[in-house]
Subunit: 222 residues, 2 copies
DNA sequence: CCTTCACACGGCACCGAGTGCCATCGGCGC
DNA sequence: GCGCCGATGGCACTCGGTGCCGTGTGAAGG
């Protein structure tokens, strides 16, 4: 039933456009009642993202399954990789959906709210890992946003290329940049500081207290 | 006319709730025709963010007014501070709107699309500044997302406190964390590398090529 | 074999957001 | 005074979304 509705919708959307296709058109093609559509999809936009609810549940389960020995930033990057996997599973569908969301503003807004829930899940996990640390919630929000942005940057360039190329490699590279900025440089509360060599970047002309504060910030002890 | 509609809306929203207030209720209280409402606001959600269009225009103008001598990350942080100024101008209104967007999912989704446009403006500016640099668009997206996340984190904690406290100081502190991670550590194309002391963080057990790559990443020469 | 209960589906009526069209009215230059 | 133009209001319509109810079907139970 869900599959029939999704199939009917994605048959009509490319030829008529999203907004020109009414729910009545979809249910007429699928041969079901109009009321049943809204039983399976809370809104018309939801038919475009049929499995995002399951994906979100998978991601939160993945985050909940980790233990405290994991490096937090590494963990959220792996969670992002998990989401990419679901996109890469059926590239044709992902590309088709990408074309839709790129053109239709209402669909783009809906995608934003979807992505926002992923980002909040990542930030919630990081907030728990950074609990007690000063500016913990700030770092959690910033890192979650950076991870999502890097993931989306790689994902979109892969989608723009019609699903050609290695999506996983692109996302790995993008996430490596984020991990380089936040990951290994920010030891978690578990504290593996003595395993690290610390490198701070600061202008030579900066006052000493400024340099010290940047070192503290890098070490996460501000 | 706009002011009358906004005033009527924000008189009804707190007492009835957003979704329980129909557009007919608003125009009846304002004493204008229903058709005129949609002349001034494309949708019901727009009446909640009456000046965001002007704010976005101000921000893009601010970014366009900068010259190439500016440090790019510093510039987008200042642009974010500019947005905060418009929130801090009338705290009562901002707090009232925050309560609404926190409760109503549809309004939160709309706010996301608003914030997204700010983020795209910042990313577009950074993309221009990073043109030619490897992974320029990736860094632009990540930094823009981090700046917006830091700004929103500080803004929301200020709004949760009913507009008490110094919003500018909170945002300055939040943006300083982002600048510490991306700003001074990443010299722009203008190249002030010889003024910097470079500090890299890496596990001692990491292979040499990994350390070298992190140094390259930190210097923005990967 | 018949009953009954539950559940999924379909149809119907309704609400509210948003739009196109046209009538109206007030200010403006000619 | 006359005609033009922009702003406004009213009307009718579409479409997304919801509540309600009737119906059919299949499984459990007498």
């Amino acid at each position: 039933m869900r599959e029939a509705l999704v199939a009917a919708a994605f048959q009509l959307f490319p030829e008529r456009g999203y907004e020109q296709t009414t729910v009545d058109d979809i249910v007429a093609l699928a041969g079901v009642g109009r009321r049943s559509f809204f039983r399976y999809f809370p809104s018309k936009e939801d038919v475009v993202f049929p499995d995002h609810e399951r994906c979100l549940a998978d991601m939160t389960a993945f985050l909940a399954a980790g233990d405290d020995a994991d490096e937090p930033v590494r963990r959220v990057c792996d969670a992002a990789r998990l989401v990419l996997g679901l996109y890469a599973e059926n590239p044709a569908f992902s590309v088709q959906r990408y074309r839709l969301t790129k053109k239709v503003p209402g669909l783009r807004a809906y995608e934003l709210s979807v992505v926002w829930r992923y980002e909040r899940a990542l930030a919630g996990y990081l907030r728990g890992r950074f609990a007690g640390r000063p500016d913990g919630s700030l770092h959690a929000d910033v890192i979650a946003a950076a991870v999502v942005a890097a993931h989306n940057n790689a994902l979109r360039s892969w989608l723009r290329a019609d699903g050609q190329g290695d999506a996983h490699a692109a996302v790995d590279h993008a996430l490596a940049c984020v991990q380089a900025a936040f990951g290994s440089g920010r030891p978690g509360p578990a504290g593996a500081a003595d395993e690290d060599v610390v490198v701070v970047v600061s202008r030579r002309s900066a006052p000493l207290w400024r340099v010290v504060r940047e070192i503290e910030t890098t070490l996460g002890r501000d």
